[in-house]
Amino acid sequence: MNENDFTKQLGYTLIGEGDGGGITAAYTSDLLSDVMGNAPGDSVLITIQAHKNTVAVADLTGVKAIILCNDRSPDQGMIDAAKEAGIGLYVSSDDQFTVSCAVGKLLAS
């Protein structure tokens, strides 16, 4: 699965593009320690944590893209940090469950 599937297939809003590359897994959590401990590498993180620290965790765990749910808009600090780390950043108006199901379907196809 590629990052542009989030915009093309799922209609999520692109905030900043990542370095690209294949995404092979997804992880849904709003607890950063849980993400740190358990999120698989090469994954997309589905969360409502729209701040800079989420990017730090994503960068350390090898998460390639972040989808912010419930229309949470990232602050400039998060946008800049994601750009610097080469991590894709997307926003969806759906909740974490709905986004997880949609991403799950894409991953399975």
């Binding site: 320690s33 993400v35 944590q49 965790v57 960068d59 350390l60 090898g62």
Partner: protein, 303 residues
Amino acid sequence: MGKAISLNSQNLPTVLLDLIFKLKIKDVMSKDVVTGTKQESLRTIQQRMKLRGITGVPIVDGPRLIGIISIDDILNAFDQGHIDDPAEDHMTRNIIVLEDDMPLSFAISYFNKHGFGRFPVLDKKRCLVGIITNRDINTSLLIEVNRIVEQLEGEREHTQVTLEGEHSKQFPVKKHDFEHAGKASTEIKKFLKERQIHPTLIRRIAVASYEMEMNLVVHSDGGRLLFTMNGERIEISAVDQGPGIPDVDKALEVGFSTANEWIRSLGFGAGMGLPNIKRVSDEFSIASDKGTTVRSVIFLGDE
């Protein structure tokens, strides 16, 4: 008398410019003001100037400033033969003053605008509380800049490589600095990646260092994250000076956290930090009294 520094922001280093607006006149002025009274003779005042090594004496009536006698007035008095007259006959009455609460920038622009060597400083009640010269300004700026440099040196990240090939890094971590949180761990990850350490091991080390770094940010009064790599052995420790963990056993339980609401709302304080560190470590220790030291050792030979 030194020349006043220019407020032209293009020529002035940012650090000085910041100080000039941050410091107040009362931080810089001399509070020990040598004064004279209106009845005293110019000769008495001249002797006082000589004794104290100054070139201007404010003339006061109680706490009120009523004039100033400068070295020029004394020279004129000798020249014109009225050195034994009382100060009030020859003092400058039209005095330009500064207020103690004004930023230092005001004093600097006054020195640039007017040709005086000093300005008396008054408080809100119009009482004389100090005197400021260019020398006071230069000295204060030098002291402040020196303090900033010392602070920066203390906070600098340290990287050391010993003869035995041991790499060590030290990162200062500040309390509640969520802005830079994760920076030390990202540096450590980069260092390991450059040495082609296995991704699974990097992940374990990153978990340990990030959780320690976040613990310093969230719970400590500030501290240091230390990293050493000696052959196959990686050691990461977090050392802080307080406030200490009241119940270490409890802190090691999954789900237990003392983090407050706003920290939890950022996704921290889930009570997984210390258990996560313990899980990824080959050796783990924690000691807490007034300060806390958490130590994790991970061996590279594992993968």
